[in-house]
Amino acid sequence: MQQIINFLIRYKTFLLYLLLLLISFVFTFQSHSYHQSKFLNSANYISGSLYAFSDNFTSYFALREENEALLKENEVLRHQLYNQESYAASPDSSKAAYKVLRGKVVKNSFSGQRNYITIDQGKSDSIAQDMGVITDKGILGIVENTSNGFASVQSILNDKSKINAKIKNSNHFGSLVWDTKKYTTVQLIDIPRLAPLSIGDTIVTGAMSSIFPENIPIGTISKFDLDSSKSFYFIDIALFNDMTNVKNVYIIQDLNRAEVLELEAETQTDDR
């Protein structure tokens, strides 16, 4: 007994080090296979408010450009609206499949392996996990964690990100992933070899996800090659979005998501 106590006292620094290292490993590896840690994320009150505070200052520098971009987007939207066949001034909200909420980026990152973006909308603005986040140019990511006033968004520049996407004109679909190398390029995999491809083709979100609506732009094909099995393409996509400069975003809530998920779960239990 005496010897055990002596041992503990002698190596107490080393044991403390091991304990602290173990805690940090637990925090690092306990996270769900594609979700970030529940406790350690910047969507909490303290870091959220600090980022919002610093954003209050820095956002002034880009105010003119942001205004310009928003006006341009309005112009495009009005053009689409007035050229629609059945133009209704107030669309029937009961039939809507998606609800769009607006938000502002308070913290962005794109240089790591797993990038997260923090936005200034949270639970109290009815933001919840697994809602899609887009800008006027294209997709940005998926909501991951929320606190009362803030939400952290898993960027498409994240090696855990996997989003259903398709080629716009042929409807062949695959998965959108990121190889962590360049923040201007993401990859589309699992497109079968027989799909006709050419450089410059547009890639949009597919209909298989209950997160994003179909046909939200992602980017254009910049390079394609067959993968090691020689039966699928490995495609590099140049993003429409400049991931280093995002400010105003839209959060999309799929109103049918709960129903779709319930149906899928039911089908799976029936199969067993």
Binding site: T13, S24, F25, L40, S42
Partner: protein
Amino acid sequence: MIGNSFFINALRFTLLVLVQVLVFNRLDFFGFINPMIYVLFVYWYPIKENRSTFLIISFLLGLCVDIFSDTLAINTAASVTIAYFRPVLMRFVFGVNYEFQSFKLNNSTKAQQITFLALLIVIHHLTYFTLEIFSFANGSLIVQKTLIIGLATLILCLLLISLFSTKKE
């Protein structure tokens, strides 16, 4: 005197975390270089303090940076590691005389100070990028990132040290 040292360290802790998350995490020089200057806390921390307290403070330092930068607990693991290995590195760089009562970081030569800081940064960055990339297939990427970003961190830390140095020439 104890109150004074406590106050200085608390202020240093807060300022380094704030500067790290508000300035250096957004630097993105060449698209990927974000120096991790909060390592300076471990470099500046008083030598004669209790080692267990030092480990716990370093743990909290890493945790604060992690919460702000959404990096799970990778910074925590890296900063606890350099805090633990600091005495070993000091004995290696300064010889046995660092244990004497009169030893001060300012009294050692420039070369010794830079070696000590560089070793801290290399160990910190190696731990950090090993955990971040977490695959030995990408071993060359880990080494590459450690060297490039480590060099950037070293240069910025040296600049900050000379900026806040109290030594009068």
